[in-house]
């Protein structure tokens, strides 16, 4: 328990450091977000409007950096991430809240499915080493080294078109209004199929490879021979002795990959113009939309930290050796 509290303290510190960096980096970058907003309105802003924009963004000159920093924290605790320039005057928190479910559902579900399929196939391939399953290995090596956005481009090129079932871009039919009804949900599912498949194909191979290799390593451990010698059934040895132990590194890999759900599949969303967080981030980068970028980075940071914490907890639960006494 003490170990666990130590970990939490460590993560809180990391979070503080990340948020602080998140605050300072945009302010160290030369240029001024208000200037880019003025450019966007093609100079049709009065001096008063410009001044109030500076105040609004917390960039008014008479405030010191320290006061700005304190204000930034105050706003954070109120869930106020500022206003976006690109989608002016929507608040950043609103934009993120709209985009986040798309990413989490698409990438989250595919990551879980990919982990489950990949790990089970890896267990099988590792346990039946030397059988036909070894023939899968070159294929998985190939797919795990293919970047998934490239696979996405190929998929769009080959599978989409005017008559195709698969739409080439977007998260739903643009004629529909987002709602939980019988028109919108099938459309959203249809739009998510191709991006989901590309992520699945390119990420499942990694799980297969790592699980298979761990299985092969564990299969030569003495306790596996002992388990065979004990006359346990093949299934029990494979599951409870070999796979149980081989799973450990994969579990922490899985927890970490959960952290990258939010930020890691940016390119797939860009390729498919999928209305998730990655796509929004691309737009924010293009428009030098600092508040939005900061907000998205904050979400990514938090999810990576939470995933790390999850990995720690999972390891504590699964591997008794990591539990400290007392």
């Amino acid at each position: 328990m003490r170990y666990f509290l130590q970990r939490i303290a460590f993560y809180l510190f990391t979070l503080w450091a990340a948020i602080t960096l998140n605050f300072f980096i945009p302010r160290l970058v030369p240029g001024d977000p208000v200037q880019s907003l003025i450019a966007k309105f093609r100079g049709q802003l009065s001096t008063e409007a410009i001044n109030s924009l500076y105040v609004l963004f917390g960039l008014d000159d008479d405030k010191s950096l320290w006061t700005q920093y304190i204000d930034y924290w105050k706003q954070l605790f109120q869930g106020d991430l500022g206003l976006s320039f690109t989608f002016f005057p929507s608040p950043v928190s609103q934009i993120i809240a709209d985009a986040l479910p798309w990413t989490v559902l698409l990438v989250g579900i595919t990551t879980v499915i990919s982990f489950l399929i990949g790990t089970s196939l890896g267990v099988l391939a590792g346990w039946r080493r030397g059988s036909w399953t070894d023939g899968l290995l070159p294929v998985t090596t190939f797919f795990s080294s293919v970047p998934y956005f490239w696979l996405g481009i190929i998929a769009i090129f080959l599978l989409t078109g005017p008559d195709s079932f698969f739409p080439s871009s977007g998260g739903f039919d643009s004629a529909l209004i987002p709602a939980w009804d019988q028109y919108f949900i099938p459309s959203a599912l249809q739009h998510s199929l191709l991006p989901a498949l590309t992520i699945l194909i390119s990420s499942v191979s990694g799980w297969i490879l790592s699980m298979r290799n761990m299985m092969v390593t564990v299969a030569s451990e003495d306790y596996i021979t002992v388990a065979h010698a004990k006359g346990l059934s093949e299934r029990r040895v494979a599951v409870s002795y070999a796979a149980r132990n081989a799973l450990l590194p994969n579990i922490s890999g899985f927890a970490l990959s959960l952290g990258f759900i939010v930020g890691g599949t940016l390119l797939v969303e860009i390729v498919f113009s999928y209305p998730g967080l990655g796509f929004i981030l691309l737009q924010a980068l293009g428009a030098k939309d600092y508040p939005l970028m900061q907000g998205i980075f904050l979400v990514i940071t938090i999810s990576v930290l939470v995933a790390n914490l999850l990995a720690d907890v999972a390891y504590l639960l699964l591997d008794p050796r990591t539990r400290k006494e007392g």
Partner: protein
């Protein structure tokens, strides 16, 4: 004495075809009921392979290429272990022959509790047993090997090396097997712990009446703890005799070399001698007697002809056998 396990012409190879390495060659060995049979030899002499072969635990590419392992159960007819179906083999394992492996440290699965690893044997072999009696039996085994039963819920990393090996011995005895194979059971332990554990095992053997095949390269331990000793070299058994006979009057030059390479605790000081040269390459075995290139007493027949294991012409020849041209035999074994 009644035999419990008879190994007949056992051959084990690693790999297939022309490049196969013959690790065990034409081994004939009989284990009698209630005895401790020691198996000694240098690393690579085939002693562990023999143990894995007779329980069919060889990891690929190890293959049994010939021979029989006849097991005599306490009741019922004898059968060939090598001919058992997978299901019958699973039932045979641990219930009839249990193994205590070398490397006490890694024989227990680090993620399962001691209790789980003790009781899953019972769950596999005696499915009708209740959970309560399984736990009671596991606790009893721990007590038998001198570990407090409240360590049932401990994980392997919470036990010392000696305790872990004692847990393994307790686990080996949990189904009351007829034969316990000990493959270098105490190599990873310090000498004090070695003697403690072996002493305890011999005491348990007297109480429970199982037979032991005790594999080690430490001949001094064998002389002390076993009834008979078989010496292996290059995959073959080169000499087999009662422990005291080997100690006092070994016939094979290799056995004598092994005996000369450890100090006696009592008696006059003597010069320690090693065996010159190194163990043979199993892939390119010398012709004839495989020990002849290192043998101080080699003469004409040694290089071209393989000596057969058989009764020597000495007065105590009936109780021992040797494969050496210095002691040509009239009665081959096997």
């Amino acid at each position: 004495m009644e035999p419990v396990l008879e190994i007949r012409n056992l051959n084990v190879e690693y790999g297939l075809g022309d490049r196969a390495v013959r690790a065990v060659r034409d081994v004939n060995l009989t284990l009698h009921r209630g005895e401790v049979l020691g198996l000694a030899g240098e690393s690579g002499s085939g002693k562990s392979t023999l143990a894995y072969g007779l329980t069919r635990l060889l990891a690929p590419p190890g293959v049994i290429t010939g021979g029989e392992v006849i097991y005599h159960p306490e009741k019922g007819d004898a059968y060939d272990v090598l001919g058992l179906s997978d299901k019958a083999l699973r039932a045979f394992r641990w219930a009839e022959t249990a193994i205590v492996f070398q490397g006490a440290m890694n024989s227990l699965n680090p993620v399962h509790k001691i209790s789980t690893q003790l009781t899953d044997v019972l769950r596999a072999h005696e499915p009708k047993m209740s959970e309560h009696s399984r736990n009671a039996r596991a606790r009893e085994m721990l007590k038998l090997v001198g570990i407090s039963p409240d360590r049932m819920d401990a994980y392997p990393h919470q036990l010392s090396g000696g305790m872990r090996q004692r847990v393994m011995i307790g686990m080996a005895l949990i189904l009351q097997p007829q034969v316990v194979i000990m493959d270098e059971p105490t190599t990873a332990l310090d000498v004090v712990m070695q003697r403690q554990i072996l002493g305890q095992l011999i005491e348990l053997r007297e109480r429970l009446g199982f037979s032991v095949i005790f594999i080690t390269h430490d001949l001094s331990l064998l002389v002390e703890f076993s009834n008979r000793i078989a010496i292996m070299y290059g995959g073959r058994i080169v000499e087999e005799a009662p422990a005291a006979t080997i100690y006092r009057d070994a016939l094979h030059p290799y056995s004598r070399g092994l005996l000369g390479s450890f100090p006696a605790l009592r008696g006059p000081r003597r010069e320690l001698t090693g065996i010159p040269g190194s163990p043979p390459d199993l892939a390119g075995m010398p012709s004839g007697c495989s020990f002849h290139p290192r043998c101080p007493q080699a003469f004409e027949p040694c290089a071209p002809h393989i000596p057969v294991l058989g009764r020597p012409g000495t007065p105590d020849g009936a109780a021992r056998s040797v494969a050496c041209w210095l002691h040509p035999t009239e009665q081959p074994v096997g």
